[in-house]
């Protein structure tokens, strides 16, 4: 865990409301694992006051990447940063995805909705290095939500796209596409991140197919360090339901431990 007050932005890209920043932060990059996140200070003043939690999208040498959508004032300020600017970053925070040795030679489904693809690119790359085959599912409302389409298509991974309006890929929900594929193939694991309803449905599908899964959850956070207990959510652990911290006990949780809003 490091606080890098002068991490330098080296490159920015944008697609409508989606942004990708590449940031030089060698100490953080060295420790970062897929599914972990950063706490980024978006303003040098006090408005907004809190840091913003952002998934680590990729690590390349001394650099880390974040991929996000502008959803409020914090992400709007972050989206205005330009190459050469310095940002104050804390990380890597939390516990990431479980990458198990037995994944070797197996297919692993990585399912992301919209900006939820953020942590899955990193995990897919790591899966490749352990000899597993990542299979990407990437859904959005419309083509413009598939901001990382070209980047993903250049990787050579199998990518399954869906849009609600059929403007690209399968017409319908990404969960339908996953369900279809599970009739034909037997992945060893599923990693998911995206809107709550998407993850809840995926969890249901995984349970029916006895497919183990992990999801990366989101929350407003105070500290990112496990100190303030502001980001909690009800989690089933050891037969008990209790408020656990998304920042420190997560942000990645096994599917069966998560209580969804409909439960």
């Amino acid at each position: 865990m490091f606080q890098d007050k002068k991490a330098r932005i080296t490159e920015t890209q944008s697609w409508g409301s989606y942004f990708l920043l590449r940031i030089s932060a060698p100490q953080i990059a060295r420790e970062a694992r897929p599914g972990q996140f950063l706490m980024i200070r978006v303003s040098s003043g006090f408005n907004p006051l809190l840091r913003r939690p952002l998934s680590i999208h990729n690590c390349a040498g001394p650099e880390i990447e974040i991929f996000f959508q502008v959803t409020g004032e914090g992400t709007r300020l972050l989206s205005q940063k330009i190459a050469g600017e310095k940002v104050d970053i804390l990380g890597p925070c939390g516990h990431g995805f479980s990458l198990k040795p037995e994944f070797k030679g197996q297919e692993i489904f990585c399912v992301g909705g919209g900006r939820g693809l953020a942590p899955l690119y990193f995990v897919a790359r790591e899966l490749q290095t352990v000899g597993a085959t990542p299979v990407i599912f990437y859904g959005g409302q419309t083509l413009s939500d598939l901001a990382l389409k070209n980047r993903l298509e250049a990787t050579g991974w199998e990518i399954n796209f869906s849009t609600d309006d059929g403007s690209y890929g399968f017409r319908g929900l990404i969960t339908q596409l996953v369900e279809e594929q599970l009739k034909k193939r037997k992945p060893a694991f599923l990693f998911g991140c995206g809107p709550e309803a998407m993850m809840a449905r995926l969890a249901e599908i995984c349970q029916l197919s006895s497919l183990p899964a992990e999801f990366s959850l989101e929350s407003i956070m105070g500290c990112g360090l496990g100190a303030c207990w502001g980001c909690v959510r009800k989690i089933k652990k050891g037969g008990e339901i209790k408020y656990l911290r998304i920042c420190q006990d997560g942000p990645v949780f096994p599917a069966e431990e998560i209580l969804w809003s409909g439960d």
């Binding site: 006051l49 840091r51 407003i220």
Partner: protein
């Protein structure tokens, strides 16, 4: 070399900067980032006798230059604290202060008594001012008599020095401070958070799961400073100032207003290195102003 120490009478701090309860976990959360022995002290998260679930989320709402929280003192309870956390904290060269909570007077006494039987604590901070655990944000620190009774009861069972943490959600904070002093509290710390509300306009629902919460951060600093000034003029016991301290200049203002030491809270979220940076800033400032002892400035406001 400037003497940064702060002598509270019952406790000598190596410097006046204390990490505030509720913003610093049980202390160990910040250990990966810096050596906690640099701190004047640290106050751990509020402790009830038993583990406590806390309030339903959402528990945080940001406001301009501020943060409203309704955590509701989720915590591990005294037993787990004394067994699993305190032995690690006791190794640090800083004053470890436990924040004592209770549903009613007797629980405050039980918690204080239990903690006093363990090695490693320099003092207790009596949390009678959390706005998130009783209906409507009520707390004992809103009533001088309840404050007196609670302090008196805890003093009966615990030999540890007691710092009573006061609520700003009162008409006259000096009356409550005087009640704490009269009941035997060795110091007062102020202020806890301001009872507040944040609304989501589209849903017309409160942003916090518990409806009301406590406001902290730079937004409350001038209010907290005024209250520290008022209380420091009335009581003879040391005053520990807190409320929106984000920089060494903020800390100095509280000291000039009469605080012998300060607590740094919400700033720990925004800048996890806030405490050590404030300590360094105080040292540099004192040096550049030719002070031998930083404590010379306590209560030096020219009015």
């Amino acid at each position: 070399m400037v003497d940064l120490s702060s002598d509270l009478g019952f406790l000598r701090l190596k410097n006046p900067v204390i990490a505030a309860s509720g913003t610093f976990g049980y202390g160990l959360e910040f250990q990966p980032l810096y050596d906690l022995s640099q701190l004047g002290g640290l106050v751990v998260k509020g402790l009830y006798f038993k583990p406590r679930e806390g309030n339903p989320p959402p528990r945080l709402a940001e406001t301009p230059c501020g943060l409203i929280n309704s955590i509701g003192l989720q915590g591990i309870g005294v037993e787990a604290f004394c067994q699993e956390v305190l032995p690690k904290l006791a190794l640090l060269e800083t004053a470890i202060i436990a924040n004592v909570c209770g549903e009613e007077e007797e629980e405050y006494a039980r918690v204080a008594e239990y903690l006093s039987r363990h090695q490693g604590l320099a003092a207790l901070e009596l949390n009678i001012s959390c706005p998130n655990v009783r209906a409507g944000g009520k707390c004992p620190a809103q009533d001088p008599e309840a404050t007196y009774r609670t302090v008196k009861r805890v003093k009966q069972v615990s030999p540890l020095p007691l710092i009573t943490k006061l609520s700003p959600n009162v008409t006259d904070i000096t009356a409550v401070a005087l009640a704490a002093e009269e009941a035997g509290s060795e110091a007062v710390s102020l202020v806890n958070t301001f009872l507040a509300l944040a609304i989501d306009l589209e849903s017309r629902k409160p942003k916090l799961g518990n409806v009301l919460g406590g406001l902290s951060g730079p937004a409350i600093k001038p209010l907290a400073l005024r209250m520290v000034f008022e209380v420091a003029r009335q009581v003879k016991i040391p005053v520990i100032g807190l409320g929106g301290i984000f920089s060494y200049q903020d800390a100095l203002e509280f000291m000039v207003a009469g605080a012998s030491a300060v607590e740094v809270g919400t700033a720990n979220f925004v800048n996890p290195l806030a405490c050590p940076e404030i300590i360094k800033g105080l040292e540099d400032w004192a040096e550049s102003h030719g002070l031998n002892r930083l404590s010379e400035i306590v209560g030096s406001l020219k009015v």
